[in-house]
């Protein structure tokens, strides 16, 4: 069964077609890569899925429920969490509180409960802290929990974004260039982390320029060019596809 389904999605910015009639599916429990040259519209597709943009045409189904046009926070609570291409952490807040931001939508305490610190509120808070500490441990940042997020290394900031997303109990995790700015060693560790995420039963959809990473972990690739899909399929098939080679010829951001 497909967890996420895009049907004829188009997004236009002032006459410029960023995404053109795009349809693809993401199967439950898989790791899918969305690739393509710079400016192909990959991040725009992500922003349509996460509710930051509303597509002009077409529809997006998550678990057979239409989500196109819903506000981002609604989509997170439905079970889609994301990371940002340009890291968007709360830099002055401690690492733990960044993770707690992701947990927010699973907590219930209302205004009055928060002002009075009721028993239920305190229990929920304790659970949230424990859960977020687990996620920090999962990505290897637990010992940094009290430091301001802005002081972390670039690679660790990307990991913290993943931990923050995981704290919201997603069923689908959307990663926008998770290896961007990471060194060799960090990228290797990241591959392991993404595979562990999938082993927890979370479906992963990612944009990535590091082709070795993509080839290694994705079960399916969707290739975009100028907002349209030119091919989709298994990584080894895609790699051999002449259209893909054509599209990437001369593109210097590809490391095959």
């Amino acid at each position: 069964m497909s967890l996420l389904r895009l049907e004829d999605v188009s997004k236009i910015f002032g006459g410029l077609i960023a995404v053109n009639d795009l349809s693809f599916t993401v199967e439950q429990g898989s790791i899918v890569g969305l690739i393509g040259p710079n400016g192909a519209g990959k991040t725009t597709v992500f922003n349509c899925i996460t509710g930051n943009y509303t597509p002009e045409t077409g529809d997006i189904f998550f678990d057979d429920q239409s989500i196109a046009g819903l506000r981002p926070h609604r989509i997170v609570s439905l079970g889609i969490a994301r990371t940002f291409q340009s890291i968007r952490l709360f830099g002055r807040l401690p690492v733990l509180e960044n993770a707690l931001a992701g947990r927010h939508c699973r907590m219930k305490a209302g205004l009055i409960a928060c002002m009075l610190h009721t028993a239920a509120q305190r229990r929920e808070e304790k659970e949230a802290v424990a859960r977020c500490m687990e996620e920090l441990r999962f990505v290897g940042l637990a010992k940094h929990y009290a430091e301001p997020a802005g002081g972390l290394s670039y690679g660790n900031q990307r990991l913290l974004e993943i931990a923050r997303a995981l704290a919201s109990d997603p069923r689908l995790l959307i990663l926008d260039e998770p290896a961007g700015g990471m060194n060799e060693q960090e990228t290797v560790a990241l591959v392991e982390t993404i595979q562990s995420i999938r082993n927890r039963g979370i479906t992963v959809l990612l944009i990535e320029h590091d082709m070795r990473l993509v080839m290694k972990i994705c079960e399916k690739l969707v290739v975009l060019e100028h907002g349209s899909m030119i091919v989709q399929g298994k990584p080894e098939d895609v790699q051999r596809n002449p259209d893909v080679i054509e599209a990437y010829l001369g593109a210097d951001d590809m490391k095959w």
């Binding site: 506000r71 997170v76 401690p94 509180e97 707690l100 009075l116 082993n199």
Partner: protein, 333 residues
């Protein structure tokens, strides 16, 4: 942790000072301290909006006015006892805030600033023009009675002092709890980066609105106390300068609750200390505003990071969501 925490020491000292103040200062200064308490109340409520959620709101005097006038009208026209009007004054201000804030809450920084200034001006002009025949025009409303608690009439300075500072104390506890909760954190996320906050699952416009409404509720209740203390209120008590002072108290405070109290003392107490300069008083005050911001651009006491007990693990019965055996990298890195 150090055995002596400077902030805790400062808080304890301030609390003690506030308790004994009525025994050591004269009626005039006691009155000043009642004003300081009132501004502290207003600034604490504005701090939720401006300090914690980072919403540029310079119109808090409008909510203060709605509360004060609600109390004054209910008391003088309908003979309600003062303290009974307090929840209603808060509710009226909160309701007003909800109506005006809903369409404008998404406006960016400086646009919101001028709109909130505009709201103060609209409210003041509406009050001046005796809207609905209830507000008494430029004369305002007089003959507001004194509050009574269980038959005990509050009229003396000392009694007002304890009423106001008692309210400040309760508000401090409630707002501190609020700060240290998912609600307070949500406001901080919004202040830091509202797009990221929304992307993490926080209903940004909802929280902004609730922050506004909550702040207005408190300002409305402060309006009740003000009306009862003055027994006469007029539109000019709720002008733009009033909003500016509350705004400046919050910015100078740095955002922590202790900072708000200290800042309120500086801002409201300073002009009184300068009384001997008579006419030049506000000149020095304006200069001091510049000097204080240049001296401490980040404010007197910025809030500290919240503390969490990270030692606790998930309660029994919660299904394990993370498989540590195979995934933990904490030891390897």
């Amino acid at each position: 942790m150090k055995p002596f925490d400077i902030r805790q020491l400062l808080s304890a000292g301030l609390a003690l000072l506030l308790l004994i103040l009525p025994f050591i200062c004269n009626a005039y200064w006691l009155d000043v301290c009642v004003s300081i308490g009132l501004y502290a109340l207003l600034a604490l409520s504005l701090n939720v909006i401006l300090g914690q959620a980072g919403i540029f709101h310079m119109g808090h005097a409008a909510f203060f006015a709605v509360g004060a006038y609600t109390t004054a009208i209910l008391n003088t026209s309908f003979q309600w006892p003062i303290l009974w009007t307090m929840p209603l004054a808060g509710a009226a201000a909160a309701f007003f805030a909800m109506i005006v804030a809903r369409p404008i809450i998404h406006l960016r920084g400086d646009y919101l600033l001028i709109v909130t200034i505009g709201i103060v001006e609209i409210v003041r002009i509406a009050l001046l023009n005796d809207v609905g025949g209830l507000t008494g025009g430029s004369n305002g409303i007089f003959g507001i009675s004194r509050p009574t608690i269980f038959g005990f009439r509050i009229a003396k300075g000392t009694q007002f002092y304890y009423l106001v500072w008692g309210m400040v104390g309760v508000s401090l506890l409630l707002f501190h709890s609020l700060w240290h909760s998912r609600f307070g954190r949500a406001l901080n996320y919004i202040k830091e980066d509202d797009i990221a906050a929304e992307g993490c699952g926080i209903h940004v416009s909802h929280y902004k609105l609730i922050a506004f409404v909550l702040g207005a509720f408190w300002a409305g209740m402060a309006g009740t106390v003000y009306a009862a203390k003055m027994t006469t209120i007029a539109p000019e008590s709720f002008n733009f300068l009033e909003s500016v002072i509350i705004f400046a108290v919050v910015i100078l405070s740095g955002g922590s609750h202790l900072g708000v109290l200290i800042s309120a003392f500086l801002f409201i107490g300073l002009p009184e200390l300068l009384r001997e300069f008579s006419n030049a008083r506000m000149l020095i005050f304006g200069f001091a505003m510049m000097a204080m911001m240049i001296w401490r651009p980040q404010g007197i006491l910025p809030p500290r990071h919240r503390r969490y007990n990270t030692a606790v693990s998930l309660a029994k019965g919660t299904p394990p969501t993370v498989d540590f055996a195979s995934t933990s990298k904490e030891e390897t890195t």
